[in-house]
């Protein structure tokens, strides 16, 4: 089972300074009232100001070349910053996708001009991205998408709509997967391309999709005869599917796949400690063991990415386990403490419980459902 081997990461000594820096920064921010820790902050914690501050610290685009505004630091260092921010429930939704996916996509497939134009802005925390993948009738079956671009002089005319685009109402651009030639039944994934759509361009309409919590994070984005200049094509025309899949792969194994409900675990532990509830702490011990394991798996994958070792199967597996863990966290907490979850609760614990419960259905859906991930893992282990 070589396919399942994950390296053990001993964090280099020098990263401790970085971690301390981030912790101090977060402590100061909380003290100054800049944010209240919340669950699932990488989807629901938007703060343009906070994103800019992180940019100033050099904590966006950390691994990118310095010439594009990056920090040329390691994946492991980026990992540390990310996990510290998420565990603190800090509002990182603004720059999240640009940092995690769009930036790396430009680095891998973009033109020099695109890199020079977009990456420094992203790294400053001033330019936010969305991903335009899903469409109303193409859930997990992305090959069925209908949005299409037609070649015109100096660019493309884009028509169609995207759904479930998180943060489109706050973002500046959307990297949009669309058909640039008609579907060929023998090669369902061919003929797709990725275009950068300026969300302020004429013909773009953004309509909120309210979640059942009443919150607005997702959108439907309509494109009607939107002109996209040639220099906003990412990579090759016709190669969009492959590029889009590569883009998704960045999603799979980060700490955001098991830390979404960490603020709840932290507050739960605080509360149990305060009440000297050792029975409750026993249960927390088991939860911690799972979390500790997930983190080590995820760290190992970050190391593999750094070393260029394929990790798709393991990443899918960690996301499956991690997102299940996030869901269980909410269910476990309510049985340990006698606090009624409510978004308006007087107690932070009650609020965090409510956030966790209400957000939890999303954890195992976004970025590939449990069922899809398990299919990937199963096929992976069978083939090895």
């Amino acid at each position: 089972m070589k396919a399942l081997q994950i390296p053990v990461v001993d964090l280099p000594k020098h990263t401790e300074d970085l971690r301390s820096e981030v912790r101090q920064f977060i402590k100061d921010e909380i003290a100054s009232g800049s944010f209240e820790p919340r669950c699932d902050s990488w989807l629901s914690g938007f703060s343009a100001g906070f994103s800019r501050k992180l940019g100033e610290q050099g904590w966006i685009g950390m691994t990118w070349p310095k010439k594009y505004g990056g920090g040329e630091r390691s994946s492991i260092e980026r990992y540390i910053v990310t996990e510290e921010l998420l565990s603190a429930g800090a509002p990182v939704a603004g720059h999240w996708i640009a940092d995690r996916q769009s930036g790396p996509l430009f680095l891998k497939f973009g033109t020099e001009e695109q890199r020079e134009f977009f990456l420094p802005k992203i790294a400053k925390g001033e330019c936010f991205f969305s991903i335009g993948l899903s469409e109303p009738n193409a859930g997990s079956d992305l090959a069925a998408l209908q949005t299409r671009a037609v070649k015109v002089d100096k660019g493309w005319i884009l028509n169609g709509s995207k759904i479930w685009t998180s943060g489109a109402h706050n973002a500046h651009y959307m990297i949009t997967l669309c058909r640039t030639s008609p579907m060929n039944p023998d090669n369902r994934h061919g003929g797709m391309s990725q275009l950068v759509v300026d969300l302020a361009a004429p013909g773009v309409t953004i309509r909120p999709i309210h979640l059942m919590t009443g919150e607005h994070h997702f959108n439907e984005v309509f494109m009607e005869d939107v002109f996209v200049p040639d220099d906003m094509v990412v990579g090759e025309i016709g190669n969009g599917w492959k590029q889009g899949m590569a883009e998704l792969a960045y999603e799979r194994s980060g700490p955001e796949r098991f830390l979404s409900t960490y603020p709840l675990l932290n507050e739960l532990t605080n509360s149990l400690l305060e009440n000297g509830d050792t029975k409750g702490l026993n249960e927390v011990s088991r939860v911690i063991s799972r979390l500790w394991t997930l983190r080590n798996m995820s760290l190992g994958i970050a190391q593999m990415l750094e070393d260029g070792i394929p990790s798709n199967i393991i990443a899918s597996l960690v996301k499956d386990q991690g997102t299940k863990f996030e869901q269980e966290m909410a269910e476990i907490a309510r049985l340990i403490v006698s606090v009624t979850p409510s978004t308006q609760s007087d107690s932070r614990l009650g609020r965090l419980m409510a956030q966790s419960i209400l957000q939890s259905p999303g954890f195992t859906l976004r970025g590939g459902t449990t069922e899809i991930l398990r299919g990937i893992v199963a096929k992976g282990v069978i083939q090895k």
């Binding site: 899903s134 859930g139 997990s140 079956d141 759904i163 479930w164 999709i209 309210h210 979640l211 059942m212 919590t213 009443g214 997702f218 869901q327 269910e331 309510r334 049985l335 340990i336 006698s338 009624t340 979850p341 409510s342 978004t343 308006q344 409510a354 419960i357 209400l358 939890s360 259905p361 999303g362 195992t364 859906l365 459902t369 449990t370 069922e371 398990r374």
Partner: protein
């Protein structure tokens, strides 16, 4: 189910279909009272079920009332029907007349009694009550109280109470009611055994929630089946995928288990107000609530996660109701109090209900 009961169910179903619509439910979350729904129920005599006519009720038995509550749960009816039933049953048990006014009872498992001091013809009332369903719209609150002469059940008008609005995870009103030395002359008080009446409210309340949750689970099951029939992916309806089938089967299992547990608890209530059956049912139905909601949301995926879809009417209520009148943990502790009285090898008799039956309690 008797023919009579089937007829009642049929007409209540029609009523909910018409007056407990998606719009009414969403509006109620924005603070609007479902006036028409309540009025229709009153007009049709559905608010004082399981109460004999001589006490002002409409007859029928607990089974009728809880079947109506089950439908109320299925249709996410945004009204304190359960609380009004519960308050009336408590009054009935004490030989008092009942009312079809909007009446409510806290759904918190531990409410401190409020303080009442006799003052001339009336009472000075002091104290606060949390987690009161729909208090902002209700006329009266039934609550435990303490007077200088001991425990009472009080039926208190809410017009002079301070209400701090709150809500549960489903956006249902769960307010805090505060009496700050309010003088009331029209407050009904009945001397009672305080411990017993508190238990009476807890068991009765839990029973209403198991019935409502069984109804909500039924709705979740129907929505999920419907979705898997209509939705296609990779060219076939998704219920053809084995992974979806596994979900459907587990969901059906939880729904059926909750239904049976709730029905058995209801069945027991007519014989004895404090049965282990209610405790078992609340634990099992609570468990089903979490599992089933999770499965349904997984199957309905993004669509079911939006406000636009109605799945959340039921899933959010299930997440709320499972905590009301006691979580699994709370009821486990209550069952444990029974367990510690067992003799060696006595568990089986407790499960089959052949020994250790409690005496029917006279209230």
């Amino acid at each position: 189910m008797s023919e009579m009961q089937e007829m009642i169910m049929e007409s209540v179903t029609k009523l909910f279909d018409k007056y407990s619509t998606k719009e009414v439910i969403n509006e109620s979350e924005n603070g609007r009272w479902a006036q028409e729904l309540w009025e229709q129920l009153v007009e049709n005599g559905m608010v004082t079920v399981a109460i004999p006519e001589e006490l002002g009720g409409n007859g029928g038995d607990y089974s009728d009332a809880l079947s109506i509550l089950r439908l109320a749960g299925k249709y996410s009816a945004p009204i304190p029907l359960a609380e009004t039933y519960l308050a009336n049953w408590i009054l009935m048990g004490l030989g008092e007349n009942v009312t079809d006014e909007i009446t409510t009872v806290s759904c918190s498992k531990d409410v401190n009694p409020i303080q009442l001091q006799k003052n001339g013809d009336g009472w000075v009332v002091f104290g606060s009550v949390k987690q009161v369903p729909w208090a902002r719209f209700a006329k009266k609150l039934l609550v435990m109280g303490e007077t200088s002469e001991g425990s009472i059940v009080a039926l208190i008008p809410l017009k002079n109470a301070k209400i701090i609005q709150g809500e549960n995870l489903a956006g249902e009103a769960r307010d805090e009611v505060i009496f700050n030395n309010v003088y009331l002359h029209d407050c009904k008080t009945i001397k009672v055994d305080g411990v017993l009446q508190k238990k009476n409210i807890l068991y009765g309340g839990a029973l209403t929630r198991t019935a409502m949750m069984a109804g909500a689970l039924e709705n979740i099951m129907e929505l999920t089946v419907q979705y898997t029939n209509e939705r296609s992916q990779f060219g076939r309806p998704i219920h053809r995928f084995q992974a979806v089938q596994q979900h459907l089967a587990m969901l059906a299992g939880e729904t059926a288990a909750a239904s049976t547990a709730a029905n058995c608890a209801v069945d027991s209530y007519g014989k004895d107000l404090f049965t282990n059956e209610i405790a078992f049912a609340k634990i099992r139905v609570n468990e089903a609530a979490g599992k089933a909601s999770s499965i349904a949301h997984q199957v309905l995926a993004a669509i079911g996660f939006t406000y636009e879809h109605t799945l959340h009417h039921s899933s959010r209520r299930l997440w709320s109701w499972r905590d009301e009148f006691g979580t699994e943990t709370d009821w486990e502790q209550i069952v444990t109090e029974q367990l510690v009285t067992l003799k060696q090898d006595g568990l089986w008799s407790m499960i089959t209900g052949n020994e250790n039956k409690h005496q029917k309690v006279e209230l």
